[in-house]
């Protein structure tokens, strides 16, 4: 297959907010992303949609950072009511974490809402073949994307998170497009 073939598009989701620790975990096992890179017959284009990911991923075709996007009315209201402050306290004990996961300030729901309001992120998702949720917080967006037919497949694979840290995308040396 030549480089002119239509690329196979993958979007990595990093949704864990300020918690970036998992995304730099040293995973040595083969990730879903690596499998795609190694076995795809077409050239692979990797893009990123993230919330709270501070590092760059060299070689990625596009990186949509949702950090600075305008909060939804729901999120603004929840912030005024102190729900996010309560979430931080709840996160310190097991029952609190369970309650957090059920409510509107669950980080997965925040990430989903923010991405849905972001036109660029939505265009990117709708033009992609596969999304890979690299943390639990991004699984809701991945699940929604595959169930609404925005993408063909969606996977949860934390092993793809260390890309750009412990290993690099093969396109890194071509053109840094981030």
């Amino acid at each position: 297959m030549t480089r002119t073939a239509k690329p196979f598009r993958i979007v990595l989701l990093f949704g864990s907010g300020v918690e970036t620790q998992n995304s730099v975990a040293l995973a040595a096992e083969s990730s879903k992303l690596r499998q795609f890179l190694e076995h795809s017959a077409r050239p692979v284009d990797v893009s990123v949609i993230s919330l709270g990911l501070r590092r760059n991923i060299p070689g990625s075709a596009d990186h949509v950072r949702l950090d600075d996007s305008t909060r939804s009315a729901t999120d603004r209201l929840l912030a005024i009511l102190g729900a996010f402050a309560l979430r931080r306290w709840f996160a310190t004990f097991p029952l609190g974490r369970l309650l957090n996961s059920l409510g509107p300030v669950d980080q997965g729901r925040v990430f989903l809402r923010t991405a849905k309001r972001h036109a660029h992120a939505m265009r990117l998702l709708r033009s992609t073949n596969v999304v890979i949720a690299t943390d639990v917080e991004s699984t809701k967006l991945g699940w929604t994307a595959v169930h609404r037919g925005w993408v063909d497949d969606a996977f949860y694979d934390y092993r793809s998170a260390p890309v750009g840290v412990t290993w690099q995308l093969p396109s890194e040396d071509d053109t840094p497009r981030d």
Partner: protein, 422 residues
């Protein structure tokens, strides 16, 4: 896992016809990580029956996640954990009891079983033995690779004496022909808990697997050469990792030999498929001190990994109940060992008498630095002949030396007149 592999092989080697009942490949991939290369060490006469374990757990394909799962992964996991305790009192694993006993019944129907060996944890692995014993009177052996109600790190009892899981363990032990433990301290703890069955408790220690070891390259005595210190094993919470890394930093400032050396960690970060981020971050913190984490190593790569090391770091948590599997392998390499654990740890007994063993009175950075400097000097001066001498000393620590006496005794007890495997 390697103990279970060696146990099955030991039975096959002594003429038993062995069937291994285990989980499917994808179970290990999803949940614990796996070492597919080690499969080539399974005795070809062994039949392996694989059954799925909790197929939804660790599912990577989001299309297959249920609405409830995606709504709250935390609640979903908690609910699964609770439900799993209904058939067998072991959170997370209990739901495997019915598939296991069903598969065991089928195996027995196809070809009658003479003996069942359950290797735990998970402790639900003991369930098929008890089930076939009750239904068909088949004897069973409980092989504790760990302990069920003893926290081997703190030495405290887990749960109450009269909890459901304690009652199940008592029934299991009462019905078992014998129980195996990895060291004397764990065996004695169980003997005190279940005194009426103590005479059936045996120590079957771990050991090194000679088949995984090749020869080390020739070594020349050279005080100026650059050394590689190595750690091979699981890197997890209770080990004094930070103290070791701080000690390494101190040793580099005091010893030119250590200063021009590097420290390599190989092994899993934590006990699960997902790497432990705390250990990962800690190792990264010391990268500028020539500390490198190079990922897990397959058992089939063990020999190659050790060939790249000049000295070894034995880093274990403090507990008289912890031996660790790697101490046996370490001794088998013949290399100098910096034993960076509290002397109370059970590994001390294993290495007692090993000439190039540099222990610490306490795993503090200062003591660790001293041990590392002494180890570096020993490694720089070690010759191939000295390595061979150390390896001869370690021969008694081979896996076969631990397993075969019990396997042979079981054959005499349960299949004295049986011929060799067809």
């Amino acid at each position: 896992m390697y103990r279970a592999l060696a146990t099955a092989n030991a039975f096959a080697k002594t003429g038993w016809r062995v069937t291994v009942l285990t989980a499917t490949h994808d179970t290990f991939e999803r949940l614990t990580g796996s070492d597919p290369d080690s499969e080539k060490y399974i005795d070809p006469h062994i039949r392996v029956v694989r059954i799925p374990y909790a197929p939804g757990l660790g599912e990577r394909d989001l299309r297959k996640w249920s609405r409830a799962h995606v709504y709250s992964p935390v609640l979903w996991n908690f609910a699964r954990w609770l439900l799993s305790r209904l058939p067998f009192p072991e959170g997370g694993y209990g739901s495997w009891k019915v598939p296991l006993t069903t598969a065991a019944t089928e195996i027995h129907r196809e070809s009658p079983v003479d003996l069942v060996v359950g290797s735990a944890n998970p402790n639900v692995d003991f369930a098929p033995g008890m089930y076939l014993h009750r239904k068909h009177g088949i004897p069973y052996v409980m092989d504790y690779r760990d302990a069920w109600h003893l926290d081997v790190y703190s030495g405290k009892r887990l749960g109450t004496r009269y909890s459901r899981s304690r009652r199940v363990e008592r029934r299991l032990i009462d019905g078992a022909s014998e129980a195996w433990f990895v060291n004397r301290a764990i065996r004695d703890w169980h003997a005190a808990e279940y005194p009426s069955r103590a005479e059936h408790f045996h120590v079957v220690a771990n050991g090194f697997d000679p088949s995984f070891f090749d020869t080390l390259p020739d070594r020349q005595r050279d005080p100026d050469r650059e050394l590689t210190f190595g750690y091979l094993g699981t890197i997890y919470g209770p080990i004094p990792l930070r103290e070791t890394l701080d000690g390494w930093r101190i040793a580099r400032t005091e010893s030119p030999t250590v200063a021009r050396s590097k420290l390599v960690f190989r092994g899993r970060l934590g006990h699960f498929a997902e790497p432990d981020p705390i250990a990962a971050a800690l190792l990264r913190e010391y990268e500028s001190d020539d500390v490198a984490y190079l990922g897990p190593a397959s058992k089939s790569q063990v020999s190659e990994v050790y060939r790249g090391f000049d000295a070894l770091l034995l880093v274990i948590g403090r507990s008289k109940y912890i031996t660790s599997g790697k101490v046996f392998e370490y001794a088998a390499t013949g290399l100098p060992i910096a034993a960076l654990h509290h002397p109370e740890t059970a590994a001390t007994e294993v290495l007692s008498g090993y000439p190039l063993h540099f222990a610490v009175p306490e795993p503090t950075p200062r003591h660790i630095a001293d041990a590392l400097i002494a180890t570096a000097e020993a490694a720089a001066g070690q010759t191939t002949a000295e390595v061979e001498q150390m390896k001869k000393w370690a021969a008694h620590l081979s896996r076969d030396a631990q397993l075969l006496p019990r396997v042979t005794a079981l054959r005499a007890q349960f299949a004295p007149t049986a011929g060799a495997r067809p």
